[in-house]
Amino acid sequence: MEILVCVRRVPDTAENEIRLNSAGDDIERDDLVYSVNEWDNYAVEEALQIVAKIGGTVTVVTIGGEDDEEVLRREMAMGANQGVLIADEAFDGSDGKGIATILQAMVRQGHYDLVLTGVQAEDGGAQVGGMLSAMLDYPFASLVNSIEVLEGGKLKISREIAGGNKEMNEIDLPCVLSIQTGINEPRYVGMRGIRQVAGLEIPRLTASALGVDAGTVGVAAAKVKRMDYFVPAFGKGAEMLQGSSEEIVDKLIALMKAKGGLN
């Protein structure tokens, strides 16, 4: 099976405290730790496991610039056969639909049986996979948390729905699936693995190489634009307990007792 996995490099929210910059128009990007989007990493692992079972290849693709090569190399160190970097200034400022338009061109150039994305990225969009499938007229399923390859060009998949329940579906290939975290246990990638793929060439594709009309992507075509970031004024927030850890523990125990928690 030929599998394409769309990945993205994002600030790692587990490692960073996301703050406003001094101008208030963006987050503070200095010293941010970046990594591959968590959902995408599960998608790559799932693709590798499918190929290990039934054969095929895994290609990882990202849209961005030079900095984004590192996530492709990381996924190649996991075992992906090929990485592709889609890079063109014409793509800057694309909204979700612009990104899907670019990926659609990439899919049409290949012969992929299966296209995987993560359910969402750190901006919580949860949109590119569904848009891509509609542009390709491929079937789509979101929130996928298991995949079984069936005979006759089909998959049996489960989707995560409310209450921990699973919705089982059969889906025809080729299709697009958005992968939920927890579907598998992504393998560990060490420095040694990264070094082994450091010399591999990563082809770059531009708008013209993909045959993408620059007027349909980028900031000019984007109907959805982020204007600014801000820190919301929520309710009063928590009463923060201060003092030595011993004092804090004593206060906390008194509070929990008062609320009936230590009976």
Binding site: I18, G130, E167, N169, E170, D172, F230, P232, G261
Partner: protein, 327 residues
């Protein structure tokens, strides 16, 4: 402004709770608008839902088709593309169905799409100004959406407070004949109900809930010891289940269990909305997190900035002392 439609989910003949939230959001978009409810399904249950919705919507568009007896997003999308007018605004809940439906629908309608919207701040020219969250809720963003050729907007469940419904005395409009034959490349098979776990976290009045801050499986007993001392159960957020450190039955959140404890200790949990959606009944929430900016502190009653791996053992020994003293 373009006409506003709301996509109503339903189960067993009852409209989903999101219906009243979508109505409230539609009124925020345009206070004088009369939003239309769109409902897809099949059989007497669908009719019951449509009739009920007439109490709060001026028009209820019914799409009845045997293939829609279970809501398959691809089939619903194809039906909606046939019946919705060009350039309309469609509001959809941002849940497992809306995530499946809306992005592809927006492509087929040639409309803009914004997901997981938490607030509506009104129009600026032909742009709608919306509020979203990014980075796991650590920061919010204003988003501008050009709605001149229509828009599909997914709304975060719980973000829009239901308003007092004005009696609408609406009517059902049957759109089924416009839909034609529906077929999809994806077919629903069955729903597998989650297995009951060893511990039923929905029955406990005190929960010691752990998140990513527990760091590794070997640290889980630190939380269990505190829970044992307090007569509580250990629950968790999604990353702990993804890492297989605790079974799915211990997960609190929209994709896990809904709990109603009296006291909820959120330990090393950042506080995503999906997690918070699983906590009901307004418990006393204690948040312990080493990141002072963690979103959990905005919703907790009491907060402690500390590393749970150091703080929980201290708390456990003091709880044991306190319990010993009171016996």
């Amino acid at each position: 402004m373009a006409p506003i439609f709301t996509y109503i989910e339903h189960h067993g003949g009852v409209a989903d709770d999101s219906a009243t939230e979508l109505l409230a959001a539609a009124k925020q978009l345009n206070a004088s608008a009369s939003p239309t409810a769109v409902v897809a399904g099949y059989g007497p249950e669908l009719d019951t839902v449509c009739e009920t919705l007439c109490a709060s919507f001026g028009e209820v568009w019914k799409i009845a088709d045997q293939s829609l007896a279970y809501p398959n997003a691809e089939l619903v999308r194809k039906a909606l593309v046939k019946v919705l007018p060009k350039g309309c605004l469609l509001l959809v809940p941002h849940d497992h169905f809306g995530i499946d439906l809306s992005p592809g629908l927006s492509v087929k309608l040639n409309a803009a799409f914004v997901s997981d919207v938490m607030g509506i701040e009104g129009m600026e020219g032909s742009n709608l100004k919306l509020v979203r969250q990014e980075f796991g809720g650590q920061i919010s963003a204003h988003v501008r959406c050009d709605i001149s050729s229509g828009a599909v907007i997914n709304l975060r469940p719980g973000a829009f407070k239901p308003i007092e419904a004005v009696p609408a005395n609406g009517q059902v409009v049957d759109k089924s004949s416009e839909v034609g034959t529906l077929a999809a490349g994806r077919r629903y098979l069955e729903t597998i109900v989650a297995e009951a776990g060893d511990v039923d976290i929905t029955k406990h009045t005190v929960l010691v809930s752990i998140g990513r801050g527990i760091q590794e499986q070997d640290n889980v007993p630190i939380a269990q010891e505190l829970a044992d001392a307090m007569g509580a159960a250990v629950s968790c957020s999604r990353p702990v289940v993804d890492a297989k450190w605790l079974p799915k039955s211990r997960q609190v959140g929209s994709s896990g269990q809904t709990v109603k404890p009296k006291i909820y200790l959120a330990c090393g949990i950042s506080g995503s909305f999906q997690h918070l959606a699983g906590i009901k009944g307004s418990p006393f929430i204690v948040a312990i997190n080493k990141n002072p900016k963690a979103p959990i502190f905005q919703v907790a009653d009491v907060g402690v900035v500390a590393d749970i791996l150091e703080f929980l053992p201290e708390l456990t020994s003091k709880v044991r002392e306190a319990k010993g003293a009171s016996v």
